[in-house]
């Protein structure tokens, strides 16, 4: 996902290492079997629904140590550990999940859930439509963050988790965490939001739309009914290349690639790959095509575009009136896709509601993706926050929100 393709794997995080959760067996849960399909925001009903998930650590007898990890656009449920001994790398957030790590699996029962509408083992546009026996394609109903969260609530029921000690998500994962805190306030003791926003801004919607247009303009797209044939590889690769640029920073790209040429000494005056950064982007695009479904990309980016926590709830301050969680909000200095100002907007609304909130801007040159990379301050912030929340929850002294915190403070 990142510009540093191989995040170095520490000795302790290797399979069998003391900081690894070890071999992990992916799991699924299926619910909303007809006729009890799940109603969606778009007005349609969907069922049965399967969600893929993984768990690390042990749920306490009181079920009070569960932490939900919420992934971003192209993520999956494989957040930590190894699926097979010969895997090239561990789960996507293994740097912070494991024994002794920020999400310490000796203390917490960590769950990572895939999303409704995805293509990583959960029900999505590549799944078979029970009515036709064929893949859904664009007949799949449009899903929203709220729908994804409703489905995750069913997973929580399945796991016997009444109230999450905490939940953490970066980018789109932060959307889901925010949605959780207002949709199921009694089920969320705390939330960790990273590099996220309370609504997708116009610039980010614009980038999403360019990506979608690239996919739909690919001749292989065929209205989304490409299953069984050649998928729209070129379109999806371009979508990924665009997205990838937005996850990085100008400074970091310059530092990594500069104007260096790839496999040549001088300019060729042609349209073949010349600069290293071009080669890198093409590699990222090609690699993504092999692991992601183009229709899922359309659906998930659309769900992101639709996200606005205040929608239908008045203002953002009013939307967060329902929340009862303590919050840790982390932004990244070099993130221009979800800039710090958007995190501060969330924090202002949390403060106006009297919710216990810590805001920290992490200093990192890595852009939006920085939350996926090793960062001692991020790890320390998460570890300290979680330990204190767990202590407060166990002591029954978790701070209740003020009864009458008033409305919006002075702008």
């Amino acid at each position: 996902m990142s510009i540093d393709d191989a995040v170095p794997i520490s000795e302790g995080s290797r399979l069998g290492g003391p900081e690894s959760v070890g071999l992990i067996v992916p799991q699924t849960v299926t619910f909303a079997e007809p006729p009890d399909e799940m109603p969606l925001d778009c007005g349609r009903r969907l069922g049965p629904i399967t969600l893929a998930y993984e768990t690390y650590g042990t749920l306490s007898p009181a079920a009070d140590n569960a932490v939900l990890i919420l992934h971003a656009l192209s993520g999956n449920a494989h957040a930590a550990g190894w699926h097979a001994p010969d895997d090239r790398k561990p789960g996507w957030w293994d740097i912070v999940i494991g024994p002794g790590k920020a999400f310490d699996t000796r203390r917490y029962f960590v769950v990572c859930s895939n999303i409704l509408g995805g293509c990583k083992g959960s029900t999505g546009p590549a799944s078979v439509n029970p009515a036709t026996g064929k893949p859904w394609g664009l007949d799949f109903p449009m899903v929203t963050m709220a729908d994804m969260v409703r489905a995750q609530a069913r997973l929580a029921d399945h796991l016997g988790i009444g109230r999450w000690l905490s939940m953490a998500g970066g980018s789109m994962g932060g959307f889901q965490a925010l949605e959780w805190t207002v949709r199921y306030p009694a089920r969320v003791a705390s939330a960790i939001l990273m590099a996220t926003s309370a609504r997708l801004g116009a610039q980010a919607i614009a980038f999403d739309e360019v990506g979608r247009q690239a996919i739909m303009a690919d001749p292989n797209f065929r209205g989304g009914a490409y299953y069984g044939g050649e998928p729209p590889r070129a379109g999806l690769a371009i979508a990924r290349m665009i997205g990838h640029i937005t996850y990085l920073s100008d400074g970091r790209m310059h530092e990594k690639f500069g104007r260096r040429l790839q496999d040549r000494d001088r300019l060729g005056y042609d349209f073949r790959t010349e600069f290293q950064v071009e080669s890198y982007l093409r590699y990222q695009g090609d690699a993504f095509v092999r692991r992601f479904d183009a229709n899922a990309y359309l659906y998930i980016t659309k769900a992101m575009d639709y996200f606005d926590l205040a929608e239908g709830r008045g203002s953002l301050v009013e939307a967060l009136e329902a929340a009862r969680a303590a919050f840790l909000v982390l932004s990244i200095t070099s993130d221009w896709l979800f800039p710090t100002a958007q995190s501060k907007e969330i924090v202002r609304a949390l403060k106006a509601n009297g919710l216990a909130t810590t805001f920290l801007e992490l200093d990192s040159p890595h852009g939006h993706d920085a939350f996926l990379l090793p960062n001692p301050a991020l790890a320390s912030a998460v570890a300290g926050f979680l330990e204190n929340i767990q202590r407060q929850v166990r002591a029954g002294s978790a701070e209740p929100p003020d009864e009458n915190p008033g409305k919006e403070g002075r702008p």
Binding site: A326, L328, K344, V347, R348, A349, K351, A352, G354, A356, T357, T358, F359, L360, E361, L362, D363, A377, S380, A381, G384, F385, E387, N388, R391, Q392, E399, D402, P405, G406, K407, E408, G409, R410, P411
Partner: protein, 245 residues
């Protein structure tokens, strides 16, 4: 030297203890420039307070997180924003007033979000500082103010007399005043502007006739409102901070 400055927070233990003693049990407290969160953590643990901090140093914010103190990473005015009027009982500004870029705005917003403010600051009117400038002819450097003129973060130093005048001009009651020598011995308010190395002052808006009869009652606000600035003026214009007081 139990009164030595704390190297991590740059704050002074006795200052902390006195401020802590001025905060009532169960109060909702905002600490501006809260450092590593020590004072708030103590108030939460010992007095059952609800505490919030504002701190600009990211290492200190991480220390607050280890202590379980909710804190806003940013400057003071930005950190004050968003809180509802009267959200807190007490706002604390310990040893940081002189570093604020806009002290009237900070104090104004402190008294917007809180009923009372506790402010401690080094007294630039102490005799030793006057003497250093008078006889030495150089910018005074002391234990409390150790910086060279070109690198000091202290851009808005004041004397006890300056601060009193400021409160009077802004119609703020000083409801409690504590004075300490540079060696942190508590002294009476007599000749405080000469003798005190540090002052801890609790202020509030003067909404009516000032009933407080302490050492400086004669000079306290007196309940009058000048300039047509009515009580609880909460102008929505952030550029208008100076008028808030």
């Amino acid at each position: 030297m139990t009164d030595a400055p704390d190297p991590r927070s740059g704050k002074l233990r006795l200052d902390y203890e006195l401020i802590e003693s001025m905060v009532p049990e169960g109060a909702r407290v905002l600490d501006l420039g809260c450092g590593d969160g020590r004072l708030l953590a103590d108030l939460i643990a010992r007095k059952g307070c609800v505490g919030r901090g504002i701190e600009i140093d990211d290492e200190a914010v991480l220390a607050c997180l280890q202590r379980g103190v909710p804190v806003y990473h940013g400057d003071m005015l930005e950190g004050l924003g968003g809180y509802a009027d009267g959200h807190f009982d007490v706002a604390i500004l310990s040893q940081t007033l002189q570093q604020a870029s806009d002290p009237p705005a900070v104090i104004g917003d402190m008294l917007r979000v809180a009923e009372r403010a506790i402010i401690s600051f080094p007294n630039f009117g102490h005799w030793s500082i006057r003497l250093r400038l008078l006889l030495g002819g150089r910018m005074p450097q002391t234990t409390a103010l150790p910086h060279e003129w070109f690198s000091t973060p202290n851009v808005h130093l004041c004397t006890v007399k300056d601060f009193r005048a400021f409160c009077e001009s802004r119609h703020l009651c000083r409801s409690e005043e504590i004075y300490l020598t540079p060696r942190f011995r508590r002294i009476s308010p007599v000749l405080a502007n000469w003798r005190a190395g540090m002052a801890i002052v609790q202020i509030r808006r003067c909404d009516g006739p000032c009933t407080w009869q302490g050492p400086s009652a004669s000079t306290a606000g007196g309940g009058r409102k000048r300039d047509g600035v009515s009580e609880g003026t909460r102008t929505p214009d952030p550029l208008d901070h100076n008028q808030v007081l």
